[in-house]
């Protein structure tokens, strides 16, 4: 594989490079090979492509068996099927025994599931995995961040959940942009009227909102939170303290994901008004990704309005 386009191809390229270097990396698929754009991996490493059929619970538990024997399995499929259908296997048999399993959940958020409808739109996955002890959670925003997230966590001890997209998500970051595991990534530093935290596939909107607000006289510091757990609480608290108002932006329910993580940090370390942009705890419709995220309150205008409200609460 010479290059990648989209988050799923980025996953496959990163995995293939890891597999070239280390025979411990294998891939477990619950009939998700094509969805993962990973056919090339199966052709290149047929003995490391473990296809278990449409059976996510089995896929997750097979990973436990493989990992307990020294392998490092990647299990990859739609994020809701892995975090909900196979939730107990993930919690009790991957996380509890601290197995080196990499869980790659694609089609996260409304952006990922869009026209498929609620059965394929997953906006609870981060809340689920974040509440399980011992799981590292990465929320890359685009293809190059997926590639870097997989590489950055490849040798971590214990399970890692990486939320990936659908291939529709816009490319936001230049490939030369740094990606430091476990750290906040400051993207804009216009000022300290508020701090804007964003993760995942709405990153472009958060950046646009920060840019437009600067033109309109509201100067924010805007951060990409690509490691949701463990959250960089030191830097987060410092920004909350310095700016005195915060907004979170994510393609996820406002309960359980980035909004919760920042609000928990604020409550524990630095009480600060926090406005959360995301899905407002309802089941959405199917629809085209851009229109859908606009409709459900995640537009650039919604983000700007949330910043103004947060600032007004200082």
């Amino acid at each position: 594989m010479k290059d990648y386009k989209g988050t799923r191809e980025a996953f496959t390229m990163a995995l293939m490079e890891l597999a070239e270097q280390d025979p411990r990396y294998v891939m477990v698929c619950p009939d998700s090979l094509k969805a993962m754009r990973a056919t090339e991996f199966a052709e290149r490493f047929p003995e490391r492509y473990i296809e278990v059929g449409i059976a996510e619970q089995n896929a997750m538990a097979v990973c436990t068996g493989l990992a307990s024997c020294g392998l490092i399995p990647f299990v990859a499929s739609y994020c809701g099927f892995l975090t909900m259908r196979a939730c107990e296997q993930l919690r009790t048999f991957v996380a509890y025994p601290n197995m080196n399993v990499r869980i790659i959940g694609i089609n996260g958020g409304l952006y990922g599931g869009e026209r498929e409808g609620v059965t394929h739109q997953f906006f609870e996955d981060l809340g689920i995995v974040r509440s399980i002890p011992g799981i590292t959670v990465e929320t890359p925003a685009d293809e190059s961040q997926v590639y870097k997230a997989i590489k950055a966590t490849a040798l971590l001890e214990g399970p890692v959940y990486i939320r990936c997209g659908s291939g529709r998500e816009p490319v936001v970051f230049d490939r030369s942009e740094p990606y430091e595991f476990g750290k906040l990534h400051v993207v804009r530093e216009y000022g300290e009227d508020a701090v804007l935290f964003a993760s995942g596939f709405l990153m472009n909107r958060a950046i646009a909102a920060a840019d437009q607000l600067a033109q309109e006289g509201i100067k924010v510091t805007m951060c990409d939170v690509h490691t949701l757990k463990p959250l960089d609480t030191a830097h987060t608290s410092e920004l909350l303290s310095r700016c005195g108002a915060a907004v979170t932006v994510e393609d996820h329910n406002i309960i359980g994901g980035l909004g919760s993580a920042i609000a928990e940090t604020a409550a524990s370390y630095c009480p600060t008004p926090v406005e959360r942009v995301g899905l407002l705890d309802i089941f959405p419709s199917s629809g085209e990704a851009e229109a859908l995220t606009d409709y459900y309150g995640m537009s650039v205008e919604n983000i700007k309005a949330a910043v103004r409200k947060a600032v007004s609460r200082k």
């Binding site: 490391r48 278990v52 990973c63 990992a67 307990s68 024997c69 009790t92 048999f93 025994p97």
Partner: protein, 275 residues
Amino acid sequence: MNELKVKELFQIAQGLRLDVVKMVHDAGDGHPGPALSIADVITTLYYNEMRIDPAKPLWEDRDRLILSKGHACPILYATLGRLGYFSVDEFDGLRDLGRILQGHPVFGKTPGVDMTSGSLGNGLSIGAGMAIAAKYNKKDYYTYVILGDGEIQEGIVWEAAMCAKKFKLDNLIAFVDLNGWQSGGTTDEVSGVTPIYEKWEAFGWYCQSVDGHDYAQISDAIANAKAQSGRPSMIVANCIKGKGLSYMENDNAWHKGVPTDEQLAIAYRELGGAV
């Protein structure tokens, strides 16, 4: 298997049964009936079949055993303790805060426990993963999984059944403890799980039916399973829940229950009192 060996295994199993009853009595909590049901299968495996080294519980070439019906763990703990994986002094801490013998088996906390279990249905998939890893790593160890006849009502068991068949896991040998009981009553009252042997056969497994308290039959079945090529093995072990104690056999009240001091004294008499 010669008569001497049978006698030796019987004496070991009786001692382990007494350990179980004493452990549950002292803890005031636990599942003695399910533990006694599989005492002879476990004894045959650990004392006659498995390639293990209690001094090296994580030896990568060891045979693995997953007690998928994890609530029966006192018999596993008794076995591992008596084999020397840890001190038998730990027996008095079953289910206690901070002790190594947790309420259900925990990988990493109890030396010799090859995988966490207790939430029913998951052990066969994990065993399949271990068996796939053996083939990938070119290792010749066997993976054993012990399932309950209640447990196999869980859907994931049949996902694992298909998976093991697909990967031709002739290094995976599973047992179903067929005692006919589960928490809420007989397996037929509670579910539609029977017939069991035919189900596994239909899923492409090499199936055998044995008396789960006959060491020679269990051992022969394992030898037959190892002789198979290209398919996983299921040994349906016909067992008696609570086997070995007059007041416990086939009385489902002992699915979970605590022997009184008097019942413990009876256990000493009936099981030889060798502890």
